[in-house]
Amino acid sequence: MFLSTKPLWGGKKQVKSSYDVVIIGGGLHGLATAYYLAKEHGITDIAVIEKNYIGFGGAGRNTAIVRANQRTQLNVPLYKEALDLWPVLTKDLDYNLMFNNCGNLNLLHSEAAVKAARMNIATAQFQGVESHFIDAKEAKELIPALNISDDITFPIHGAMFHPPGGIVRHDAVVWGLAKGASKLGAHIHQHTEATAINTFDGKIASVETSRGKINTKKVFISAGGYSAALIYGMLGIKLPISVLTIQAMVTQPLKPLLNYVISSGAYHVYANQTLKGEIATGAHMDQWPNYTTLTTAHYIKHQAEALTQFLPCLAGVRFMRHWAGLADMTPDMAPIMDGNDHVEGFFMDCGWGYFGFKSCSAVGKFMAEFIAEDEKPDILKPFTLRRYEQHQLMGETAALVNYTPDN
C-alpha cells in the first residue's frame, strides 16, 4: 500500500457516453454532492468532470477555517449543519479529516463592531450555535500573545468567541470525499474539460467534454470561482457575481502561540496556526475582478502590518509560501443554489465567495437531495437566483463591500 501509486479514488476511467448526473467541477461542493447522491439517494451513475485535478481550485487554496456564526437567520442553519457533519464524515468516509475544533475568535475594534457582533451572537444562540461576547481581557487570557493595549491603530474592544468552529485539513476533505464517492460508483474524470451544455426543448440533453459527448438529463455546475463564467458561457444565464483573486500565505513554523482561529474585520486579516506550526493567514480580495490567481507584494506588506499590530510577537517572522485563489462574490454575500428553473435538469451552486470551504459538507448533502428528488429542500429555498429581481437580498453583509458599484 505504501508504494501504491493508484489514487484513493481509483485509476483513470473511460468516459461513458451517458450518465444519470454530470457534475462540472471536481472541487469540494461537486465531490460532496456526488458522495451524497450515491450514499443517500442511490444515484451512483455520476460523472464528476474536472478540468485540472480534483481540489485544484478553491478547495486546495482556502485557509481551512470552519465556523457557523454568520449574520442572518437563513444562513446560520446551513453552516451549523456543515459544522456538525465534520465528525460524521470523518467516520463515514473512514478518513481522518483532521478537524481541529479549536474555536474562533473574531476581534472587535470599535463600539459599532461590538454592537454588530451582539446581533450575530444573538442569531447564533437562537439557532442553537454556541457563540458569545468576551471582553479584551478575556481574549488575552485565551491568547496571551494578543496586544490589547490602546497604542495600535485599531485597539481591541472585545471579541466574538465561537467555540464550535476551527480548522479542517482541506486536502483531506477533497481526498476523503473523492474516495467515498468513487467507492460508491461515481466516476471522477480529472483533466477533462466540459466545453458546452446542449439543451433540447428547455431540458438538459448532453454535455460536451474534451473526452467526448455525455448524454445526461441532469447537470450540476459547481465550479467555484469559474461557475459564473461557465454558466453564462454555456447557458447564457447571467449571475450577480464578481470574481476576484484572494490571497493567503503561511509563515515559517513556530512553537504554539495561537490556539484559536483569529480574525479581524478592521484589519482585514484572519489567521490560524496550523498543526505544523505555521501561521496561515488570509487577507481581503483584490480590488478589481480578475482570474489571475497571482500573488502580490501589496498583500504581504498588508498581512505583515496587520498581524504584527495585534500579535506583535510575529514581528520578524518570515512568510514561507504565498498563493491565491478565486472568490465569486455576490452583492449580499450569500450564495446562489438553484435548479430546474431556467433549464429543466440544470442545477447550480455558486457565489460562495470565501465561504465555500466551510459549507461544502452541508451543500453536498442538500444539493444531492435537490438533484435526486427534483424538490428543493427548505433549507436551500432562500438561496434562489430570483431573490435579486425580487429585491430580497439576504443581508449577510451589514456594510456593503467596495469592489464594484453594484454593492
Binding site: 459564473a228 463564467a229 447571467k238 449571475l239 475582478p289 482570474y291 465569486d328 435579486y388 453594484d406
Partner: protein
C-alpha cells in the same frame, strides 16, 4: 466553438505583473490609484418600460468574462475621470484596441456560446494581448 475559462499559468510567463491602467488624461498609472467601476453594460433602462428583471439585470448581473472585457474605471487618486478600458481578466493586462470595441458590440446580439468564441477570435485577429 470551444468555451474555456481558467488561466494557464505556464502561458502567462513574463506577463506576470501588477495592474496598470491608462487614464485618458494622466496616462499609464499604478492600478491601485483607480477604483473599478463594473462591467460595461447596456444603457440604464428607461424608467417607463422598466421591469424588476431589466432593473436587476442592469444593477446586479455580470458576464464574468474570463478573457477580454470592456469595463469602467474611476481615477480615484488622480484626476477623477470615469472612463472605459479593455482588460484581459486572466492576465490583468490592458488590451488597447478600438476595433475590439466594435466587435464586442456587434456580438451582443449573437448567441452566447458564439459570443465567447468570438472574443477569442477578435483578440487573435486584432493582435490583442491574450
Amino acid at each position: 466553438m470551444r468555451f474555456s475559462v481558467g488561466n494557464d499559468l505556464e502561458t502567462l510567463g513574463d506577463k506576470k505583473m501588477a495592474l496598470t491602467i491608462t487614464c485618458p488624461i494622466c496616462g499609464k498609472r499604478n492600478g491601485y490609484e483607480f477604483r473599478y467601476g463594473g462591467e460595461d453594460k447596456d444603457p440604464r433602462p428607461e424608467e417607463k418600460e422598466m421591469t424588476p428583471e431589466s432593473w436587476c439585470d442592469y444593477v446586479h448581473m455580470n458576464k464574468c468574462v474570463a478573457g477580454v472585457q470592456k469595463e469602467w474605471w474611476f481615477h480615484r487618486d488622480g484626476c477623477g475621470l470615469w472612463f472605459t478600458i479593455h482588460r484581459d481578466t486572466t492576465t490583468n493586462l490592458e488590451v488597447v484596441n478600438p476595433e475590439l470595441d466594435i466587435k464586442l458590440n456587434l456580438n451582443t446580439d449573437a448567441k452566447v456560446n458564439k459570443n465567447a468564441g468570438s472574443h477569442e477570435k477578435a483578440t487573435a485577429e486584432t493582435g490583442g494581448e491574450k
